[in-house]
Amino acid sequence: MRVTTTVNGTEREVDGVWPGESLLYVLRERLGLPGSKNACEQGECGSCTVYLDGEPVCSCLVAAGQAIGREVTTVEGLAGDGGLHPVQEAFVEAGAVQCGFCTPGLVVAAHDLLERVDQPSDPEIREALAGNLCRCTGYEKILDAVRLAAQRQAAR
């Protein structure tokens, strides 16, 4: 089947998609966007988090056909011409990246939080990131990164 969808602002068309295929598979294997990671394929880890029509979802649980005519933004779509997005910069600076497997999903989830909430409290940050697992960092540096990005966002 054919799937036409807008990914990171550009309309993309893919043929030969198997109807049971996930949006994650389409992004990674058919569109060459390996930023979103596949770690569990069951919604548990959040490493595949992308925006679907502006909402953060696990792309492993979206059937490819459900994305037809929708807008998808992946971690690759967050950085602008001027370089990394401030949330991404904060992750680098705070040391929130170790193996990096969880990072793309966490960056999207943190980005979404800061779009909605200016100065999130710690419980709000924890709640917003509750669907993203990290096996390396112990989360402290990830929380630091989100606080740092929030501070900078407020200062601008």
């Binding site: 089947m1 198997w18 109807p19 049971g20 996930s22 394929e41 069951q42 919604g43 548990e44 959040g46 988090t49 909402e55 953060p56 979802v57 696990c58 492993c60 649980l61 979206v62 059937a63 056909g65 459900q66 037809i68 989830a109 709640e127 917003a128 509750a130 669907g131 993203n132």
Partner: protein, 294 residues
């Protein structure tokens, strides 16, 4: 496999009838896991995501008619006042990503004994509205909807249209036991609704029997004791002994098993504690609730 994507409710019903091999998919948070892990290979996916009616909720004569495709995230943000028990349960589902996609209709379709919507729907005495192209619509009380482990009363050609849930006339509570806050399948869960308008009590037990179920004897006991003591009118404190006796009766209504998440004995004990606490919290809310006169 085919991908069927009806844009109207009529087309969805026609496709459901024509294609018994099709598996409906709403948020996909149950269905896609099964497909990703090769546990299921339906002849087709019937995507309900483009049917506008399913994503709406409307007030309906003292009830909320909740379209089957309304997400948990929207139940939380839009219906916390009208359906407090269901909204409390929705807050405990999965993670933000799961709550954005997952729907109450999907929870009913999956009919897992651990589904978090079921206890509050039972306690509120909700009704499931199902429709087939051939026979039209029928309403199934939640207590009759769950027919076995992951089985429901839906016929092969039917779809769930909506859930009809009475607007809360009193305080409601939801309790869930798990190993952490996020992303937890209930070890066991309990929902309570006080219905001061008709002086009755509603309950729902999750993850402690082959299906979600009510605890009718416990409901009648608590409502009766409250009435005998005149407490509905005086709004006096709930006696500790009464709360405990209620908890024991709720636990007795369960039929739990030992499994990886917990033992039957633990589940029964946890239920008695949750029921006691839920009754106490809800009653304390009722006592201070100035919105509704007794």
């Amino acid at each position: 496999m085919d991908f069927l994507q009806p844009r109207t409710w009529q087309d969805a019903l026609a496709l459901r009838a024509e294609r018994p091999d099709a598996l409906p998919i709403a948020g996909g948070t149950d269905v896609m896991v099964e497909i990703n892990f090769d546990r299921r290979r339906p002849g087709a996916l019937l995507d309900l995501g483009r049917v506008p009616e399913l994503r709406e909720w409307t007030p309906d004569d003292g009830r909320v008619r909740l379209g089957a495709g309304v997400s948990y995230a929207r139940v939380i943000s839009e219906l916390g006042e009208r359906l407090p028990g269901l909204a409390m349960a929705a807050r405990t589902v999965g993670s933000p990503q799961i709550r954005i996609r997952g729907t109450v209709g999907g929870n009913l379709g999956a009919a897992s004994p651990a589904g978090d919507s079921h206890p509050p729907l039972l306690a509120a005495e909700a009704t499931i509205e199902v429709v087939s192209a051939a026979r039209g619509r029928r309403e199934i009380p939640a207590a009759e909807f769950y027919t076995g482990v992951k089985r429901n009363a839906l016929a092969a050609d039917e779809l769930i249209a909506a859930v009809l849930i009475p607007v809360a006339s009193g305080p409601q509570q939801f309790c869930k036991i798990g190993t952490r806050n996020a992303m937890v399948i209930a070890v066991t869960a309990f929902a309570l609704a006080l219905h001061p308008d008709r002086r009755s009590v509603g309950t729902g037990i999750g993850s402690a029997a082959p299906t979600p179920r009510r605890a009718p004897e416990a409901e009648e006991f608590l409502a009766g004791e409250l009435a005998d003591a005149g407490l509905w009118e005086t709004r006096g404190p709930l006696p500790e002994t009464l709360a405990r006796a209620f908890g024991d009766r709720v636990a007795a209504a369960a039929d739990p098993i030992d499994d990886v998440r917990g033992t039957a004995a633990y589940r029964r004990h946890a239920l008695s504690v949750m029921a006691r606490r839920a009754a106490t919290w809800a009653w304390n809310d009722y006592r201070t609730d100035s919105r509704k006169a007794a």
